[in-house]
Symmetry: C2
Subunit: 483 residues, 2 copies
C-alpha cells in the first residue's frame, strides 16, 4: 500500500472506532448525499440517487406484476382531514410541517405537508367507490413526504424523504389481510433478491404499529453494528379509515358496507440499510443488482503501450456497456492504486484491470470488491463470465449478511441474560413476551431495546417466559435496539 493509498483510507473512520462516524464518512465521501441548508434535509447526489432509481424500477415491476397501478395525490392535506382518524392524527400531528401562507395571503385553513397520504387518498376514495364493481382499488404512489424529526441521519431518518406508498381498498376483511401479507412478501423477496438483505418478517406489536392501522407487518434487517432497521412495512388498516372517511360500497347483496383497506411503504432508508449491512472499513460494497456502476474498467498504462491499452479499454467499455452498467476510469493524473481505492470506496462490485499483459493474454483481470479475489477473464464469453461473477457476488453478499445475522441472533431465557447479550453483542435477541404493553415498555425504558416483530410460524416454538413479568410467554419475539 503506497502513501497515496494510506491517505485515502484514513479518511474513513474504522467501524470499530465509531460506526456512526464511519457511516457519515461514507455517505459524504462516496458522494451519495450532502447536507442541505434546511435542518434535517439532504440533497441526494447522483451516486446515491442512481441506487434509488434501481430500487424504484425493481419494486415498481413487482407492484405492477401484482396488479397495482401508479397514481399521484396532492402534497398538501387540509388540517381537518388529517384529524378525521383519531389514532392517525395522534401519531402524526406532532411531527408535521404546516403551510400557513400561499400567494402572499394567510390561508383560511392550514395545510399539512403530507407525512403519509392515507388522509388525502381516503378523501378521494370516498368519492370513487360506490359499488363492489369499483373494488379492489390497487394504487401506489412514488413521492416525497415530510416528518419533522428531531434527530436526523442521512437516508435513515430525514425531515423529507422519498418513498412509495401503496393504498388499496377491498370488499372483505380476508382480501385486505391477503393483500397486506402479499405486499410484505413482495418487500421480503425484493430485499433479499435485489438488495441482498436478509430480513425477518413478522407482526408489529400494538405499540409499534402504524398510527391508524389495525395491524402492521414488517421486515426487519440487522445492521453490522448489531442494531435493527425496519426496512418496509405493510398495514392492514381494517375499516378504521373507511369509517372516518365514509368509504362505503353497495355490495352484491345490496347492502351498503364499509370498505377494508391496506397501505404499505418502503423508502430511501433502504439505501442506508445497504450501506450498513454490506459496507466495510474500505467503504461501500454495493449489491450488483442495484449498484449504479456494476463494473469499472481501470487501464494500466505503460509509456510504450498507452494508446493501445486505452483503445482496448474503450472497446471493452462499448462491448460490456451493452449489457452492464459500466464505467471507464481513464482520468489522467491519478495512479491505478488511487483509482482502485476510490472505486472500492464507492463499492463497485467488480474492477476490471486492463494492462499490456492482459491484452497479450487475451483477457482482463477482474477483482471482486466483496472478497478481493483476482480472476482472469478471457475475452471469449466475457459477458457470460461477468454475469456469472456478478451473480456470485450478489449471492455472497446475501450469504455474508445472513451468516452475520444468524451469528448475531441469540436467545435470552432471563432478563439478566437479555441485558448481558445486549451489552456485549447487541444483535437480535429472541425472548418471550406475555403480550402486555407494560412489559414491552418497561424493557424499552430499561434497555432502549424494542420488540422488532412477532415472527411468523412460531406455533411450535417454546416461548419461554416474559422478560419483564416472568409469566409464561405468549409470543417468542425479536428484540433489538433499532434505528
Amino acid at each position: 500500500m503506497g502513501a497515496n493509498d494510506k491517505e485515502f483510507v484514513k479518511e474513513i473512520t474504522p467501524r470499530s472506532v465509531d460506526f456512526s462516524q464511519w457511516y457519515l464518512d461514507i455517505v459524504l465521501k462516496a458522494e451519495m448525499m450532502d447536507y442541505a441548508p434546511v435542518k434535517g434535509c439532504m440533497a441526494i447526489r447522483p451516486y446515491g440517487y442512481a441506487i434509488w432509481e434501481n430500487i424504484q424500477r425493481l419494486l415498481d415491476q413487482r407492484f405492477k406484476a401484482t396488479g397495482h397501478k401508479n397514481a399521484y395525490f396532492p402534497l398538501f392535506i387540509p388540517e381537518s382531514l388529517l384529524q378525521k382518524e383519531a389514532e392517525h392524527v395522534e401519531g402524526f400531528a406532532p411531527e408535521v410541517a404546516l403551510v400557513t401562507h400561499g400567494g402572499n395571503e394567510k390561508l383560511a385553513e392550514r395545510l399539512v405537508v403530507r407525512p403519509t397520504s392515507e388522509a388525502i387518498i381516503c378523501s378521494m376514495y370516498a368519492r370513487w367507490i360506490q359499488s363492489w364493481r369499483d373494488l379492489p382499488i390497487l394504487y401506489n404512489q412514488w413521492c416525497n413526504v415530510v416528518r419533522w424529526e428531531k434527530n436526523t441521519r442521512p437516508f435513515l431518518r430525514t425531515t423529507e424523504f422519498l418513498w412509495q406508498e401503496g393504498h388499496t381498498v377491498h370488499a372483505t376483511e380476508e382480501e385486505a389481510e391477503e393483500e397486506t401479507l402479499k405486499m410484505l412478501e413482495v418487500y421480503r423477496e425484493f430485499a433479499e433478491t435485489e438488495l441482498a438483505l436478509p430480513v425477518i418478517s413478522g407482526l408489529k406489536t400494538e405499540r409499534e404499529k402504524f398510527a391508524g392501522a389495525l395491524r402492521t407487518y414488517t421486515i426487519e434487517a440487522l445492521m453490522t453494528d448489531g442494531r435493527a432497521l425496519q426496512a418496509g412495512t405493510s398495514h392492514n388498516l381494517g375499516q378504521h379509515f373507511a369509517r372516518a372517511f365514509e368509504i362505503r360500497f353497495l355490495d352484491k347483496d345490496d347492502e351498503l358496507k364499509y370498505a377494508w383497506q391496506t397501505s404499505w411503504g418502503a423508502s430511501t432508508r433502504l439505501i442506508g440499510a445497504i450501506i450498513m449491512v454490506h459496507g466495510d472499513d474500505r467503504g461501500l460494497k454495493l449489491p450488483p443488482r442495484v449498484a449504479p456502476v456494476q463494473g469499472v474498467i481501470v487501464p494500466i498504462l505503460t509509456k510504450k503501450q498507452k494508446e493501445q491499452v486505452l483503445e482496448a479499454s474503450r472497446e471493452l467499455l462499448a462491448r460490456l456497456g451493452e449489457s452492464f452498467r459500466m464505467e471507464l476510469d481513464d482520468r489522467e493524473g491519478y495512479s491505478p492504486g488511487w483509482k482502485f481505492n476510490e472505486w472500492e470506496m464507492k463499492g463497485v462490485p467488480v474492477r476490471l484491470e486492463l494492462g499490456p499483459r492482459d491484452l497479450e493474454a487475451g483477457g482482463v483481470t477482474a477483482v471482486r470488491r466483496d472478497t478481493g479475489e483476482k480472476i482472469f477473464l478471457s475475452q471469449d464469453n466475457l459477458e457470460d463470465s461477468l454475469e456469472k461473477l456478478l451473480d456470485e457476488i450478489q449471492q455472497n453478499l446475501f450469504q455474508q449478511a445472513l451468516d452475520y445475522r444468524i451469528a448475531n441472533t441469540r436467545r435470552a431465557s432471563s432478563y439478566a441474560e437479555f441485558v448481558e447479550i445486549l451489552e456485549e453483542h447487541r444483535g437480535f435477541i429472541q425472548a418471550g413476551w406475555c403480550g402486555e404493553r407494560a412489559c414491552e415498555e418497561q424493557v424499552k425504558d430499561d434497555t432502549r431495546a424494542t420488540i422488532r416483530c412477532i415472527p411468523f410460524h412460531q406455533e411450535h416454538e417454546d416461548k419461554g417466559i416474559c422478560l419483564s413479568c416472568g409469566k409464561q410467554g405468549e409470543h417468542l419475539v425479536y428484540y433489538a435496539r433499532a434505528y
Copy 2:
C-alpha cells in the same frame, strides 16, 4: 347509433359549444384526474398518471443519452435563499406557499415550498464546484413543485404539479448556450416524435423570459381552439445565479471565475397539450407511443360461440401483451357498442374486435381511433401489422396537428389585420415587432395576445412593421393568445 351510444356521447360537451368545458368533461370522464380538497390541486388518476410515466421514461432516456444524471434536492427552500437573485425572487415570491411551523413549533426562518429549484440547487453547487475539473455538472431532477395560482385548470395550471428540471453548470458561456439549445432540441424532438405535437422553437422576449434567466428558449404548440401552449422551456441563466450564490471555479489558467448555468423544464401540462391537440368530440385520441393502452380487445359474443371467442380473446391478449400495452374488455353487462364508445372516449389508438366471423377468417378486425377505418388483420404477422398500424396512427396524428397549425398560422401586416385574424380565427399570427417592451405590452393589453417566441432562422425573412409603433420590425415573431 343506439340509445345507449347517444347517452354516452352526450356527456361530453362539443368543442364547438364550449372548448373549455369539453376539456374538463374529458379529463374527468376519462378518469385522468379528479379535483382534490385543496384549492387548485388535483389527484392524478392511474389513466392520467400512466401517460406521465411514459413521458418520464421517454424523456429520461433522452436526458441520459445526452450525459445527464438524476439527483434529488430538498422540497423546502429557506426564504433568504430565494431572495438572493433579484429577478428570481421578484418573479416567484408572489406565488409561493410558505411553511411557518414544523413539529409544533414556529420556525425561526420561513421555508418556501419550491416553485422551482434554482435557489436550493445553486446553494449546493457552490459547495461542490471548486475547479474546472468539477465541470460540467449535468443534473436533472423529477419532482413536484408548488406555485400558488389564482386560476387553475387540470394539468395546464395547478397549484402543485409534477415536472423535471435540469440544472447544469459550465465553464464557459458558449458551453452553457450550447447546452440550452441542445435541451430545447431534445424537447422539440421528443414532443414531435413521442407526443405527435408539432412545435415552433424559438426565443422568448425579455418580458416573457424566466425570472432570473439571461435568455429563455421555448417550444410552443397550437391547441385546436387556436390558443398556444408553452410546452417546454430551456434557460440560459448566464452568470446571474453564479454571482448571487458565489459559484466559482479555478480555471485551467489559475483564475477564479464565475460559472455559467442553464436550467430547463417540462411538466404534466404536456398531458393537457396532448388532450387539446388531438382530442375530438368523442373524447381523447392518444398518440400510440405514450398511450397507457395501445390496443383494446373487445370480444363480440354470440350465445353459441361465447366461450370460444372469449378463449381466443384471452389468447390474443397474452400474445399481443408481450409487445404492446393491451387490455381485454371482457366485462359482462355492457354491449359492444357501449364498450366501443368508452374506449374511443379514452383515446385508445386501436380497437381489436374479435367475433365468430373474425375467428373463422383467422384474424381480427382493427378499428383506428384516429380515422375510424376498419382493417382486417390476419393472425399471421399480427405483431408486425399492429406495429405498422400504430406507427401510421402516430404519424397521422402528427400530420393532422401539423396541418391544423399550418392552416392556423397567418401573417398580419397591419394592426387592423392582426385584430381581425385574432377575432375570427385565433391561431398563430406572424407579425413584425420593433423589439420594444412597450409595444409588446400594448398589444397584450389591447388583445390578450402575447409574443410566444422569436423563431429561429428568420434572418432572410421580411420582418414587416411593428404592430404597435409602425416602425420597421426587428423580428418576425409569433403572436397568440395562450394558456
